[in-house]
C-alpha cells in the first residue's frame, strides 16, 4: 500500500490538462477512468506508477481525498465506498443515475482551477466590457454521453458566472450518440444575455474555445492560439496546455457549486434531454428553476 494525500480520477484529456500541476505535487496521483488510458498515459506523482483504472487504485493508494473529473460506469458505487471509509470525495459533475438514497458528494465548479477563466471573468467585470450580450463556448471532452453531460454542466456553470446572471431557459439539440454525440445548448439568462454552449464529438485538444461579447467589445480565449505547437514533417501538432490549471483550487470551499434540489433536477433533466433530442432530432426546451 502506498498512502497518498490526493487521488484524481479522470480521462486522458483531464490528465493532459492537469499533468504539469499533478506531477509537481508530492502525494498526488492520477488514475484513469476505465478505458481512458489505452495509450499508456497516467502516472503517479513520482512519475513511476502507471495506473490503469480507478477502482483498484483505491486499495493500492488509500488516498485521503479523491476528485472525480470524469464519470464512468460504477462510479456511484466507488463514491459510496470511499465516502463510507472516510475519504473526502468531490466530483466535477452530478453522479450519473440519480437516486435520492445515494450519497451525493460536493460538486466542484471546474472553472475555479482555470486561470484562463479567472482572467476572463475579471476582465468581463471591468466597466470597459460593458454589459454581457453573448457567450459561446466550444469544448470537446473525451468519453461518451455522461462525459458530454458533465461538460455541458461545467459550461452552464461557467456561463452563469461569466454572464453574471442565472440561466432562465435553455434549448438542447443534439445529434449522434455516445462518444460521437454533439450537444448544442442555446441559453438565455435572467438578464436577457444569450449564449451557445457546444460539446463537440471529436477533437480532444479543443478545450474551451471561448468567445464573449459585451457592449464594450470582445473577449476571446482561442483554444488554438493559446497552445504551443510544432510543425513536424507533415503536420502541425499542438502541445499540451501550459500550466494554466491548479487542482489545489478545487479543494477550496469556494470551488463547491451551491446547487439546490431543483437545480439538481434541472441538470438530470439536461442529461435526459441530450438523449431524447438526439434520438428524436427535435430540440428540447428546459426552464431553469426558480424563474
Amino acid at each position: 500500500m502506498i498512502p497518498i494525500d490526493g487521488l484524481v480520477i479522470g480521462g486522458k484529456q483531464d490528465y493532459d490538462l492537469f499533468r504539469e500541476d499533478t506531477e509537481g505535487q508530492a502525494g498526488m496521483a492520477f488514475a484513469g477512468v476505465p478505458g481512458s488510458m489505452r495509450d499508456g498515459g497516467g502516472a503517479g506523482s513520482d512519475g513511476e506508477t502507471t495506473v490503469a483504472s480507478a477502482p483498484g487504485v483505491f486499495e493500492a493508494y488509500r488516498p485521503r481525498r479523491v476528485l472525480f473529473l470524469s464519470p464512468y460506469r460504477g462510479m456511484a458505487a466507488d463514491v459510496e465506498r470511499l465516502t463510507a471509509s472516510g475519504v473526502e470525495v468531490r466530483t466535477a459533475g452530478p453522479l450519473p443515475r440519480f437516486s435520492p438514497r445515494r450519497i451525493h458528494p460536493p460538486i466542484v465548479d471546474m472553472q475555479h482551477a482555470d486561470r484562463g477563466f479567472t482572467a476572463m471573468l475579471e476582465m468581463s467585470r471591468d466597466a470597459d466590457f460593458g454589459e454581457p450580450v453573448y457567450l459561446r463556448v466550444i469544448s470537446s471532452p473525451d468519453g461518451g454521453r455522461w462525459s458530454k453531460w458533465w461538460c455541458a454542466f461545467r459550461q452552464c456553470r461557467m456561463a452563469g458566472a461569466l454572464l453574471g446572471a442565472r440561466l432562465r431557459r435553455i434549448y438542447v439539440a443534439s445529434t449522434g450518440s455516445a462518444d460521437r454525440g454533439h450537444v448544442s445548448i442555446t441559453l438565455k439568462t435572467e438578464r436577457d444575455s444569450t449564449g451557445h454552449l457546444l460539446v463537440a464529438s471529436r477533437g480532444s485538444g479543443l478545450r474551451d474555445d471561448v468567445f464573449f461579447l459585451g457592449t464594450g467589445g470582445t473577449l476571446a480565449g482561442d483554444a488554438l492560439l493559446n497552445r504551443p505547437g510544432v510543425y513536424d514533417g507533415s503536420n502541425y501538432r499542438l502541445l499540451p496546455d501550459p500550466a494554466l490549471r491548479r487542482l489545489a483550487d478545487l479543494w477550496n470551499a469556494d470551488a463547491v457549486a451551491e446547487l439546490n434540489g431543483a437545480e439538481y433536477r434541472f441538470y438530470y433533466g439536461l442529461l435526459r434531454a441530450i438523449g431524447r433530442a438526439s434520438r428524436s432530432g427535435i430540440g428540447i426546451c428546459l426552464d431553469y428553476p426558480g424563474v
Binding site: 460593458g130 454589459e131 450580450v133 453573448y134 459561446r136 466550444i138 470537446s140 431557459r169 434549448y171 439539440a173 443534439s174 445529434t175 449522434g176 460521437r180 454533439h182 448544442s184 442555446t186 438565455k188 436577457d192 444575455s193 444569450t194 449564449g195 451557445h196 457546444l198 463537440a200 464529438s201 471529436r202 477533437g203 479543443l206 474555445d209 468567445f211 461579447l213 457592449t215 464594450g216 467589445g217 470582445t218 488554438l224 438526439s278 432530432g281 427535435i282 430540440g283 426546451c285
Partner: protein, 380 residues
C-alpha cells in the same frame, strides 16, 4: 468561336443594397458590360442624384421607370439593388421579360413574395443568382475542408458572423421595448434587422451542406444598441437549426460595435464531424497589418450621417487576401448562361433561406422552436 457579351442593367443604388459593390465585377468582366442604370420615377429624394451620378460615372444612360428599361433589347441581365420590399415585383417583371436575374441578398420581403418569384422564374427559363452567399472564402474553405475527408461525416456546425460597426451605448431599461418585434418590417430610418441582414450569410453557409432545415430555434432580446432596443428589433441574435437528418447548426449574428474585432468582425465557422472538428476563418488568408501610424491615428469615429456604418467600416488589422465574391459569382453566372447550367445559389435557395430566417423570428416571438415548413411550399 466568339462568345457573346451580356448587357447588365443596374436597377437602383438604394442605400440598403450592395449595388455599388457589384460594379467593379461587372466592369472588369470581359464579357459583361453595364448598359444602363434604372429606378422608379417616384423615389426617395437622396436616391435619384445618386443613381444619376453612378450612370454618369459609368458612362451609361439613366432610365426613369424600371419596366421600360428592363425590356430594352440591350439588357440581358438585371441587377436588382432596390429596397427589399420592391425586389420581388422587379424580379417577376424581369423574368417575364426573359431577362436573367442578379439579385442582392433577398428575393422578397415575405414568403408570399419569395414563392411568387420562384414561380415566375420557373415559368420563364431565365437564370438567377444571388451573389452574396456562397462565393466568399468562408464557403470556399468550408468546401475544401469537407472534401479532404478529415472531418468524416459532418454532424454539426457553428457559425459566428458579426459586423464590428456602429457604437453601442448603455441602454436605459425605460427605452427598452420588451416585446420582440415580429418579422415583416425589416428596417427603420435608424436601424435594420440584423438577424436578417447578417444572419442570412450564416444560414446560407448551413444550407450548403445540410439537408433542408426541419426545426429552428431563435433567440433575441439581448442588445448592443439603444436604437434597436427601443424598437424591440434585433441588432444581434442566435439561431439553432436542425436539419431533416438531425444535424445541428448554431449561429450567432449581428452588429457588435466598432473596434470589437481586429478584422472588422468575426467571420468564422466550426465544423463538427465524426472524425474531427474543423475551424475556418473567413477573413483569412490575410496579412496582419499592425502598422503603427494606422493604429495610433486610426479613425474609429462614427459619423452622424451614418451612425450604423451602413456605408463605412472601421480600420482593421487584417487585410484579407481571399477572392472577391462578386467576381466569382459573375463567373458562375456567365458560365451558367453559356452552358445552360445553373449557378450555385439561385432563387430557390433564397426562398428556403428566407423561410429559415422567418422561422427564426417566429421562434423568438413565440419563445419556442418552430418546425418547418410552416409557410407555403416545401423546401427546394
Amino acid at each position: 468561336m466568339a462568345y457573346r457579351t451580356y448587357g447588365v442593367l443596374l436597377v437602383s443604388f438604394s442605400r440598403h443594397s450592395h449595388q455599388r459593390s457589384f460594379v467593379p465585377a461587372f466592369v472588369d468582366h470581359p464579357r459583361v458590360r453595364i448598359v444602363g442604370v434604372a429606378d422608379d420615377k417616384d423615389i426617395d429624394p437622396y436616391l435619384e442624384p445618386l443613381n444619376r451620378s453612378w450612370a454618369d460615372r459609368l458612362g451609361v444612360p439613366y432610365h426613369q421607370g424600371i419596366e421600360a428599361a428592363v425590356r430594352r433589347s440591350e439588357v440581358d441581365i438585371v441587377s436588382i439593388g432596390h429596397e427589399i420590399e420592391r425586389r420581388a415585383e422587379i424580379a417577376m417583371m424581369a423574368a417575364d421579360a426573359g431577362k436573367h436575374l442578379w439579385i442582392d441578398k433577398f428575393i422578397g420581403a415575405d414568403m408570399d413574395e419569395c414563392n411568387a418569384v420562384v414561380d415566375a422564374v420557373d415559368g420563364s427559363g431565365v437564370s438567377t443568382i444571388l451573389p452574396s452567399y456562397v462565393y466568399n472564402d468562408l464557403v470556399n474553405q468550408f468546401r475544401r475542408m469537407i472534401s479532404t475527408g478529415f472531418l468524416g461525416e459532418l454532424t454539426a456546425m457553428h457559425v459566428d458572423i458579426l459586423f464590428a460597426k456602429g457604437i453601442p451605448r448603455s441602454i436605459s431599461k425605460a427605452r427598452w421595448k420588451t416585446d420582440f418585434l415580429p418579422p415583416g418590417r425589416w428596417k427603420f430610418p435608424d436601424i435594420k434587422r440584423e438577424i436578417l441582414t447578417v444572419g442570412a450569410y450564416a444560414v446560407a453557409l448551413v444550407q450548403q451542406c445540410f439537408e433542408p432545415i426541419a426545426e429552428v430555434y431563435g433567440q433575441g432580446g439581448a442588445y448592443f444598441f439603444p436604437e434597436h432596443a427601443a424598437h424591440g428589433a434585433d441588432d444581434f441574435g442566435t439561431l439553432t437549426l436542425v436539419d431533416r437528418s438531425g444535424r445541428v447548426a448554431s449561429i450567432s449574428a449581428g452588429r457588435s460595435g466598432i473596434a470589437s474585432h481586429g478584422a472588422g468582425g468575426p467571420n468564422q465557422a466550426y465544423l463538427f464531424g465524426t472524425k474531427g472538428t474543423g475551424r475556418i476563418d473567413g477573413k483569412r488568408p490575410g496579412v496582419d497589418t499592425h502598422l503603427r501610424n494606422r493604429i495610433v491615428h486610426g479613425d474609429f469615429s462614427v459619423g452622424d450621417d451614418d451612425p450604423m456604418q451602413w456605408h463605412s467600416g472601421p480600420p482593421t488589422l487584417l487585410a484579407s487576401t481571399g477572392p472577391d465574391f462578386s467576381t466569382e459569382a459573375l463567373k458562375d453566372l456567365v458560365n451558367a448562361l453559356d452552358t445552360g447550367g445553373s449557378p450555385r445559389y439561385t432563387v430557390h435557395d433564397a426562398r428556403d433561406l428566407m423561410e429559415v430566417l422567418l422561422a427564426g423570428y417566429d421562434s423568438i416571438v413565440r419563445h419556442g422552436s418552430v418546425q418547418l415548413p410552416v409557410r407555403g411550399k416545401e423546401a427546394s
